[in-house]
């Protein structure tokens, strides 16, 4: 585990990502995978193939060469989202709890360009940074047993999208028909760590058309 700092900020997270890419590119024998998270990179290796000391030396060398050149172009991924109604059963509660109108909640949620800190949980859940503090809200007391795939939720100061149907305690304010996890693809997620994400409000009807189009 390589910890590059202790905090949640975009600059630190981009350093983690740069080191992750450098480790992959170096293709060191015995290194199985590198998992970037907010502030640290977990490197899994086979000690039968590479010693801990040798691995550390290699990583130290990569650290020196990568951390000062984080030059990185983020892609922007747009997430078409239907807010409220059956797609976002908690929108009304979020509005009441924050003292905002539903439209204001939607406006505040669609405004920022969110930073993708990491993917985790199960099957490509994006951990997004940049939620308006005015939308901060506690989790559900009792998590739902089934949250549909594509559900857009907020909890605490975070927002994210459930890529697959799963249990979950986040407040669900909308849903997207964008497929966020397709294990039949070599890269199973359209969003990658370091990308930027923007939510776009679309009407109910359009979402169904998109879903139909995606199926054909």
């Amino acid at each position: 585990m390589v910890e590059l700092g202790d905090g949640i900020n975009v600059a630190l997270n981009l350093q983690v990502r740069a080191l992750g890419l450098a480790v992959e590119r170096a293709g060191l024998a015995g290194v199985q995978e590198a998992v970037p998270t907010y502030r640290s990179l977990a490197i899994y290796y086979d000690p039968l193939r590479i010693g801990r000391g040798a691995l550390k030396e290699n990583i130290d060398a990569l650290l020196c060469s990568t951390l000062d050149q984080v030059g990185h172009r983020s892609r922007v991924v747009e997430i078409p989202t239907v807010y409220g109604g059956i797609c976002g059963p908690d929108l009304e509660f979020v509005a009441r709890h924050t003292g905002l109108s539903e439209d204001e909640v939607i406006r505040l949620h669609t405004e920022p360009l969110y930073h993708v800190y990491m993917l985790g949980f199960t099957g490509g859940f994006p951990y997004l940074g940049g939620l308006s503090e005015r939308l901060s809200i506690p989790r559900l007391h009792t998590p739902r047993l089934k949250v549909p795939a594509g559900s857009v939720g907020i909890a605490g100061t975070q927002t994210g999208v459930y890529p697959v149907e799963s249990p979950g305690g986040w407040r669900i304010i909308g849903r997207t028909s964008l497929c966020l996890f397709d294990p039949s693809r070599q890269i199973p997620t359209p969003i990658l760590p370091g990308d930027k994400v923007r939510f776009l409000q679309i009407p109910q009807q359009a979402s169904q058309e998109t879903a139909t189009a995606a199926r054909h």
Binding site: T37, G120, G123, P188
Partner: protein, 364 residues
């Protein structure tokens, strides 16, 4: 080349297709999955002449009933589910031939939890993200992303070794190790042992913990003396390795297993050695667990010893399946000819088929 080989007559409690797991996709938030007891799966595969990492079936608690749709060779390794072929008991930990049309039934386990069935050629399901393992939390991989059901038809790949060459292979007595009541899990401290008080670490390493009923492929909960944090249980979410011992605010440890989520925000006091994670897969609620600290160097030395056990099996069975064999007929006698290749140099060994005594010498 694949062919239908097994029909699921009864699925058992929870039977899934598993190999050694999905490597390289945790960065996409994809769990590694794979067999909970990889020691047993690898041994089962070697018994039937497969690569160690071929896909097999993981049966949990109560095994499935399967009808063979083709002649094949199978091996069942792990706790005894009292398997039967056409009502006749089958030896566990041995290569066994099964004929097309015969019924293989696995029963309920008395001790332990998970048994592994390997079939010559390996279970053939599509490779998803580099693995044939079932990922239950994200519902993909394995057989349509789910546990087996009655009526499912499983295909196998082409067998590397013909059944005749491996008949009679069996695991040496005691090779798997005992299924004890009390289990000592070896751990290396970290990555966040600095989040605990010295007293908390002492508690962890000396306390007696009991396995709770909440246990599945994602993890097991334990109950025992609470482990004290320095200041809160939460860390900034990071990667969770297999066997990580995370400690939430209540001080009761949770050990994370094959289908664990890839990231989490509870402080991890230690990581259990892989070999012991696989032993943990055979425990049941109520069993007692202790933790013993090891240095990283000791843990890695343990891994070398662990791997040597598999090398010993492979060496013992080499020549029966690892290298191509040819059968020569000469003057009404048949000979098995093995060839080991090199750069322009070949080692040829000849064995008389009947008594397997080496007849000819080596030629270069």
């Amino acid at each position: 080349m694949t062919m239908d080989a097994l029909e699921v007559v009864k699925p058992g409690l929870l039977t899934t297709v598993q190999d050694l797991g999905r490597i390289g996709c945790q960065k996409y938030g994809v769990p590694s999955s794979g067999a909970m007891d990889q020691t047993a799966l690898r041994a089962a595969n070697l018994l039937v002449g497969n690569e160690e990492g071929a896909a097999g079936l993981e049966a949990t608690g109560e095994g499935p009933a399967l009808r063979a749709l083709a002649d094949s060779v199978v091996a069942i390794v792990g706790p005894d589910m009292e398997p039967l072929i056409e009502g006749r008991p089958v030896e566990c930990g041995a290569a066994t031939e099964i004929r097309s049309g015969q019924l293989l039934e696995l029963g309920r386990v008395r001790r332990g939890l998970r048994a592994y069935l390997a079939v010559g050629g390996g279970i053939d399901v599509p490779l998803m993200l580099g693995s044939r393992s079932t990922c239950l939390p994200a519902a993909f991989g394995g057989f349509h992303g789910r546990a087996l059901r009655g009526g499912d038809i499983l295909a196998v790949g082409a067998a590397a070794t013909r059944p005749a060459g491996i008949k009679g292979r069996r695991l040496p007595r005691g090779w798997l190790g005992p299924l004890g009541e009390a289990l000592t899990l070896r751990v290396t401290l970290g990555p966040q042992d600095d989040r605990f008080t010295p007293e908390g670490i002492r508690t962890f390493l000396t306390g007696t913990y009991r396995l709770m009923p909440e246990m599945d492929r994602m993890g097991v909960r334990l109950q025992g003396p609470p482990i004290l944090h320095r200041s809160g249980a939460d860390v900034i979410s990071d990667s969770i390795p297999l066997g990580a011992v995370q400690v939430p605010a209540d001080g009761q440890p949770i050990i994370l297993l094959a289908d664990r989520q890839t990231t989490g925000g509870y402080a991890k006091i230690a990581v259990v050695l892989k070999e012991d994670v696989y032993r943990l897969a055979q425990t049941t609620p109520g069993q007692v667990v202790h933790f013993r600290q090891m240095s990283v160097e000791e843990a890695q030395a343990g891994l070398w010893r662990y791997e040597a056990r598999f090398q010993a099996l492979q060496q013992a069975w080499q020549g029966e399946g690892e290298h191509p064999n040819y059968i020569l007929q000469h003057k009404n006698r048949s000979y098995r000819v093995g060839v080991e290749g090199g750069e322009g140099t070949y080692r040829v060994s000849v064995q008389k088929q009947a008594d397997r005594k080496r007849e000819g010498g080596e030629e270069t």
